[in-house]
């Protein structure tokens, strides 16, 4: 690979609009053979939109798209694939009813007159699965795998395309540390083979580790490029948000108050033999760390009444408490900002106002009628307090960026004044600016005496935010670490099934 060779792929002045949104306003980007280009930017900056255009998923409104200097005009995904461009989408796009082999070769099945060559597929699929570190039979039905593993299947699928350009849109957002490392090996390997990679992530550490070059987007426009030697945290953040961000994790330690949530030997349905005990106190921020699939989400859902506990005791503020549905938990003073924002957190086709007020409608009702005044107040307060960037409270939630959507979720729970706020991956897929605001909010709420329990797969986040952390491994709590015991090694050790070492 030579630095001065003409770009393999290049776009100039691309624009794209959606009903109600101008997603790209004349962006440019180029990619050379065998380089890893990272694309970063705040939520809604237009990264995914551009990638979809590159991969033929959707057409641009205007602008130039060149491959090896020649203009292309992809009508569909297949056209792009034929030119060697493969995209791993931000959202999972597997058919959950098909097996792994079928998914990996979906749309490209080796066939004779339409009859699928099963044996060939299975052999090849095994090869690609091993390459991403998945040692599973190819007959496994995809839907039975945890999300993280499915993400790896997506990557195996992209690898199987034998692409010249591989685009990865936040591939690690649901991968564990170990899986992430496997992925990095794969990416580096690809680079060595002369394959170009476009890598999108909000985790700047990953970007630093992987990239040969970084392109930054802001509000659908180019905000700048960084050459390999310029890539560092400060530079990236400055280009993304337009200013410096100091002090990311701004924690003050408060004296924790009385116990808010006490869990004694509760058993969640996903791990029907493993009892779990823990507590959260007022004014305390407690983290739950662990590898993806360790059962953390399940645990929060059990406390929230989504999947009621099979056994064990829960106490909230000293009162025994047995939620059988989220409504019970909410009435008792618990809130959950779920991991899957689009599916569980919000009603996307409804407005900011309707979303923000949804849990408080029942409290504020008068004889069943909506209290429209209260509704307005709640949503306006949420927008103001959380600094939600929205044209109005009547905007449809779907049209907001991920970070702003997450802020609506937080806003709607704050209106309920919960005793315990549970956050599942509160900053997944959220840009640095918004991230910092969420951290600030957590800190403020804890200062006001709220108990906060959060799940995170980002080591940094747990280290930065938690007063205390529980580490989970395969459904059980394998250890508890105080703030001064928290370190990358101690967490990893417990998360992978090791014993707690004396601090």
């Amino acid at each position: 690979m030579s630095a001065d060779s003409s770009p393999l792929l290049e776009v100039k002045g691309l624009t794209k609009s959606f009903p109600g949104v101008l997603a790209l306003r004349g962006v440019s980007l180029h990619l050379k053979k065998g380089e890893v280009l990272s694309l970063i930017g705040e939520n809604g900056a237009g990264k995914s939109t551009l990638m979809k255009i590159l991969a033929g998923v959707q057409p641009a409104d205007s602008g130039e798209y060149l491959i090896e200097g020649g203009p292309v005009n992809f009508q569909n995904v297949r056209d792009a694939m034929n030119r060697g461009i493969a995209l791993i989408h931000q959202e999972l796009n597997l058919a959950s009813n098909l097996d792994l082999a079928a998914n990996i070769f979906l749309g490209r099945e080796p066939n004779k007159k339409g009859i699928i060559q099963e044996n060939e597929i299975r052999e090849d699929a095994t090869k690609y699965l091993q390459r991403v570190g998945l040692d599973l039979p190819t007959e496994t039905i995809t839907g039975t795998l945890p999300i993280g593993k499915q993400q790896l299947v997506e990557i195996a699928k992209a690898l199987s395309c034998d692409a010249r350009v591989l685009i990865m849109d936040e591939p690690t957002s649901s991968l564990s540390q170990k899986e992430t490392e496997t992925l990095f090996e794969v990416v580096k390997d690809l680079r060595n083979q002369g394959i170009s990679v476009i890598y999108i992530s909000h985790r700047l550490g990953e970007v630093i580790e992987l990239s040969d070059r970084v392109t930054v987007f802001r509000d659908g426009e180019n905000a700048g490029d960084l050459a390999k030697e310029e890539i560092n945290h400060e530079n990236m953040v400055r280009l993304m948000v337009g200013r410096d961000l100091s002090e990311f994790y701004d924690r003050q330690i408060h004296q924790p108050g009385k116990t808010v949530l006490q869990a004694r030997e509760i058993i969640s349905p996903a791990y029907s033999t493993i009892p779990v005990s823990f507590e959260v106190r007022a004014g305390e921020i407690v983290g739950i760390a662990g590898l993806v699939g360790a059962g953390r989400t399940e645990l929060l859902q059990t406390i929230f009444g989504v999947t009621p506990a099979l056994a064990g005791e829960l106490e909230l503020d000293g009162q025994s408490f047995r939620p059988s549905c989220p409504a019970d938990a909410i009435n008792a003073g618990i809130a959950l900002a779920p991991e899957d924002r689009k599916q569980h957190g919000l009603v996307l086709p409804m407005t900011v106002r309707e979303n923000a007020s949804l849990p408080s409608l029942e409290r504020d009702q008068s004889k069943g009628f909506l209290n429209q005044e209260a509704e307005l107040k709640i949503s306006e307060k949420a927008v103001e307090q959380m600094q939600i960037k929205t044209p109005s409270i009547e905007q449809i939630a779907r049209f907001l960026s991920g970070g702003n959507q997450q802020k609506i979720v937080l806003g709607k729970w704050l209106a309920m004044n919960p005793k315990l706020l549970m956050l599942d991956e509160p900053t997944r897929g959220i840009d640095v600016g918004a991230k910092r605001e969420i951290y600030k909010l957590m800190e403020k709420l804890a200062g006001e005496g709220m108990a906060i329990l959060f799940v995170s797969s980002e080591m940094e986040e747990v280290l930065g935010m938690a007063d205390r952390a529980y580490i989970m491994h395969e459904g059980k709590i394998s250890g508890e670490l105080d703030r001064n015991e928290l370190s990358e090694e101690s967490i990893m050790n417990l998360a992978t099934g090791g014993e707690k070492t004396a601090a």
Binding site: F304, F369, L370
Partner: protein, 334 residues
């Protein structure tokens, strides 16, 4: 939402005007009053099914519920001579019970609404035929019937459900219209002004999202099915008194399709989360208007179905086009 209503309202006006031009007799008071009456009867059913469609469900059984309720009513009033108000209570109670069963099967047993109500369609029709031995019955008793002693009261009911209130010289207001107005306003208030209405829209758009916000989605769905069956039951009473004759195998046949067509034409999305009472009521009126126009203009009755089908199809296509244009305009306006 409002754009939808404009579209369907325009359709109503266009068909109305064209028919009036071709046959001015269309406009006479008697015809108008019939048109209002039939529109009201079908709109009552359609309001119910709209509730279920808003939750993302479907109810294929309403035609059979109309039939069964009408049969049971006639059975109670005429054949068994039960107290008229008790009979009304029994029939409406029956329809509530049916809705409850649907709701429970959909939510607690997790069976798809299409399947549950398809089975309902078959079963209720069968029960209706079985208890009457498939003989026509009517709600109003004749001499010799057990219910004849209650004749006066039953005629009172008959007036309530299918009477005509003189307004001015030649125009009589059919009482079903009053039912429609009351039900329509109640329905619209329920959907737009109460928390439960909001919950229905929310769960229709995203059931999980609604559940995680503390809404008891199961209960809300059950309520929707109960309301739907209740509307069908009420329509059953209205039809029974209007027709004075119930044929167990036929009364209500295909009505589910009319009601669903009206809901869809009126702006409900079968994916859930969308729709308004006003739109549905106007659409129900459009469907009845089409029938009336076909007869008025003198088109072969063999073509009725076809014309109805084409109007629904083009109505929905037009709506789709309208929505897309609106969205584009919105963008360029920014």
């Amino acid at each position: 939402m409002k754009k939808n209503i404009i579209g369907i309202f325009a359709l109503l006006v266009v068909i109305f005007v064209i028919t009036a031009i071709i046959n001015p007799k269309f406009l006479n008071a008697y015809n108008m009053q019939n048109l209002i009456k039939w529109s009201s009867l079908y709109a009552v059913m359609s309001i119910g099914v709209a509730m279920v469609i808003i939750t993302g469900g479907i109810d294929l059984s309403i035609g059979s519920v109309v039939g069964l309720v009408a049969v049971v009513l006639a059975f109670c009033l005429k054949i068994h001579g039960l107290d008229p108000w008790v009979s009304i209570g029994i029939t409406l109670g029956l329809s509530l019970l049916i809705g409850l069963v649907h709701g429970l099967l959909v939510t607690k047993a997790g069976i798809q609404p299409f399947v549950v109500t398809l089975c309902g369609l078959l079963v209720y029709r069968s029960i209706g035929r079985w208890i009457t031995d498939n003989q026509s019955v009517g709600p109003v008793p004749l001499e010799g019937d057990k219910g004849y002693v209650n004749l006066e009261e039953i005629l009172g009911l008959d007036f309530i459900f299918s009477g005509k209130i003189p307004l001015g010289d030649s125009f009589n207001l059919p009482t079903p219209f009053i039912f429609l107005v009351v039900l329509g306003i109640a329905g619209a208030v329920f959907l737009r002004k109460t928390i439960w209405g909001r919950y229905l829209y929310a769960l229709g758009n995203n059931e999980d999202g609604a559940k995680y916000s503390g809404i008891n989605t199961d209960n809300m769905k059950i309520i929707a099915y109960v309301l739907c069956s209740f509307c069908a039951g009420l329509a059953g009473l209205l039809f029974a008194f209007e027709l004075d004759s119930v044929q167990p195998a036929q009364t209500g046949e295909f009505y589910e399709l009319y009601a669903i067509a009206a809901a869809v034409l009126g702006g409900c999305s079968l994916r859930g989360g969308e729709g308004s009472i006003l739109g549905v009521v106007i659409a129900a009126a459009v469907i009845r208007l089409i029938y009336n126009s076909i007869n008025m203009v003198g088109i072969s009755t063999h073509l009725e179905f076809g014309i109805l089908g084409m109007v629904i199809l083009f109505g929905v296509i037009g709506d789709e086009v309208l929505k897309k244009t609106m969205a584009k305009k919105q963008l360029s306006a920014r």
